[in-house]
């Protein structure tokens, strides 16, 4: 097991380097001179040249990348062009909001999606199955930020039950988490349903039934464990989508997370902050995938054995 985890971590290194290099290169393509942004439009050429020198912008791009990554390992991602504060601490202070939001979104989706999927599969073609299929179809098609606005309209403005934004209390996370979770719920439900349908037709399930186990035990103890394997892959994949969705959702609910920071920085052309946010998202996403893969090996020993 340890060997597998070690190998999997080693495999992550080229991916992280590749992703960060890609992000770095693309952002370096941005037209305009960052030194000019820092210096302001009235500064003379000599000042701009001096700032360029200070920020290391006159070095070759690859050298800049290596310097940047070396700095990042020490928690140094440069300073914001607009506020002058260190990017690392800016991101770190906003990280909890984004994480809580994404985690709560996954939780909502798992808690609703998987049980619905199980019920749909065990009662195939029943009214409940058809209703949840319909809900899944609309859930996937619904623009996430629009659902957020609709929830604000109903639960915050009309009923006044929940706050429409901000995170002064835990209630502030309810609407954003539900909003974020709905698309994923639909996905989890469909995957659970189809994989459950496949599993309950297998021989070993018939054997369990023949031994006289009751239906609850057959489904929850025997079928679900195998049916969940594809669901876990989908959960891992969905976390990426959820991180992207969190960016948009933070705008809808005015939550002070990393996504909000990134969008504001893009509009202000604050390159170091944008770069920092994107690399953070990419690294977090890689880590999540790593975690999912390891979890996978625990659940399905067949996968681990491929790496021996």
């Amino acid at each position: 097991m340890h060997k597998y985890i070690f190998k999997r971590i080693l495999m992550m290194i080229p991916v992280v380097i590749g992703v960060s290099l890609l992000v770095f290169m693309v952002l370096k393509m941005t037209p305009g001179d960052p030194a000019r942004v820092v210096a302001g439009s009235e500064a003379d050429e000599a000042t701009v040249a001096q700032i360029r020198e200070e920020l290391g912008l006159n070095k070759p791009v690859l050298q800049q990348y290596v310097d940047y990554m070396a700095g990042m390992l020490h928690g140094d991602m440069g300073n914001s062009y607009t506020t002058g504060k260190p990017v690392f601490s800016e991101i770190l202070s906003r990280m909890p909001t984004t994480f809580i939001l994404a985690f709560a979104g996954v939780l909502v989706a798992v808690l609703i999606g998987i049980p619905l999927g199980i019920i749909s599969a065990t009662k195939q073609y029943s009214i409940l199955d058809n209703i949840s299929t319909l809900l899944a179809l609309t859930g996937v098609a619904m623009p996430n930020f629009w659902l957020g606005l609709m929830l604000i309209l109903v639960f915050a403005l009309q009923l006044g039950w929940l706050p429409s934004g901000g995170v002064t209390s835990w209630q502030g996370y309810i609407l954003p988490a539900v909003t974020l979770g709905v698309g994923a719920t639909a996905n989890f439900m469909r995957t659970t349903r189809s994989s459950m349908l496949e599993v309950i037709r297998q021989d070993y399930i018939r054997t369990v039934r023949a031994k006289g186990a009751n239906e609850k035990r057959v489904i929850l103890r025997h079928a679900l464990r195998n049916a969940l394997i594809p669901v876990i892959t989908v959960i891992g994949l969905q976390i990426g989508t959820l991180l992207g969705g969190a960016v948009v959702n933070e705008t809808v609910f005015s939550l002070p997370g990393v996504g909000m920071l990134m969008i504001n920085s893009i509009n202000k052309k604050d390159e170091p902050v944008v770069l920092g946010c994107l690399i953070t998202f990419a690294v977090v996403f890689s880590l999540v995938n790593l975690f999912v893969d390891i979890l996978y090996a625990y659940i399905d020993p067949r996968i681990k054995s491929q790496y021996r």
């Binding site: 590749g18 890609l22 952002l27 609309t138 098609a141 619904m142 623009p143 944008v274 994107l278």
Partner: protein
């Protein structure tokens, strides 16, 4: 000599007939799927509306012209979907929005299809190191969520309609590369490809003429589904002000500017969102229907 020409024409006729009967068969299977037909009808209406947008409501005099006297009106006989915060007719703006969304969606998917398709075909056909290099680069692309990748490209290039198309197109490129590669791998060792090679056909001829036609089904299905994703991404990016800029009537941008008035005039936000949802739903239903019709084996 005469005989061989006759035989050739007959062969052509026959293959034409076979093609036609294959199309009728696919169409017959589509027709039986009510949800897919619903999708097809809605998508067709949207395409027609997008083409004739200027005939339905003029862009300069109706869709973007401000008329503050009539601002924030609810739906009425005169303004079917009400008016927005500048007194512009929301129905007219939605009609022109359909044009923008479909255009961005289709062009972005074409960009993804061409770039991803070429890379995937090369990777699958040649295999080995080429395959490894291309697919590892695609993996890196895939390890960033699509929306974040698009945000990154827009952040670098600046926000305009063309950049938006490029951003969303490049973000969906790896999916097509994977599909095309997988399809190429599944057919490249079959006898008809070997036969083509044996009679001296060149690599690009084999890929384009013999392998590609056999990979079309999954590509068509994925392209349809991807247009939906692209439209959704466009709306999301415009909503966070990184997409289409005002006063252009993009659906997501309409939601962004309308949200300030959600309390007093909720129709500004409700109606465009419903339209986005119906569009995506229809495209998804159509895509799923096409999958079932094109390849009954894949039916889930």
């Amino acid at each position: 000599m005469k005989d061989s020409t006759a035989a050739a024409t007959m062969g052509k006729e026959q293959s034409k007939k076979r093609k036609r009967s294959q199309m009728t068969e696919i169409w017959r299977r589509m027709r039986r799927n009510r949800l897919a037909m619903f999708g097809l009808v809605i998508v067709s209406i949207l395409i027609i509306v997008a083409i004739f947008a200027n005939q339905i409501a003029d862009y300069n005099t109706v869709a973007i012209k401000q008329n503050v006297v009539e601002r924030l009106q609810g739906p009425s006989a005169e303004h079917w979907a009400g008016t927005d915060e500048f007194g512009r007719d929301i129905f007219a703006r939605l009609v022109h929005g359909a044009r923008i969304s479909l255009l961005v969606g289709v062009v972005a998917v074409c960009i993804a299809l061409v770039t991803g398709g070429i890379l995937g075909a090369i990777a699958g056909y040649f295999g080995g190191t080429v395959d490894n290099v291309i697919m590892r680069i695609m993996d890196i692309f895939l390890s960033i969520p699509i929306l974040l990748l698009a945000i990154m490209i827009v952040a670098a290039l600046g926000s305009s309609m063309l950049n938006l198309m490029i951003a969303i197109g490049l973000a969906s490129m790896p999916t097509f590369a994977r599909i095309v590669r997988a399809s190429v791998l599944s057919v490249k060792d079959q006898e008809f490809v070997e036969a083509a090679r044996a009679i001296g056909a060149k690599n690009n001829h084999i890929i384009l003429r013999h392998i590609m036609p056999n990979c079309l089904s999954p590509i068509i299905v994925q392209a349809t589904l991807r247009v939906a994703t692209a439209i959704l991404s466009t709306a999301s990016l415009s909503f966070i002000s990184l997409g289409i800029q005002a006063p252009a009537p993009e659906w997501g941008a309409m939601l962004a500017s309308g949200r300030a008035y959600i309390r007093d005039a909720p129709h500004i936000v409700i109606i465009p969102g419903l339209l986005i949802m119906i569009t995506i739903l229809s495209l998804n239903l159509l895509g799923d229907g096409l999958r079932d019709a094109l390849d009954p084996k894949l039916k889930r």
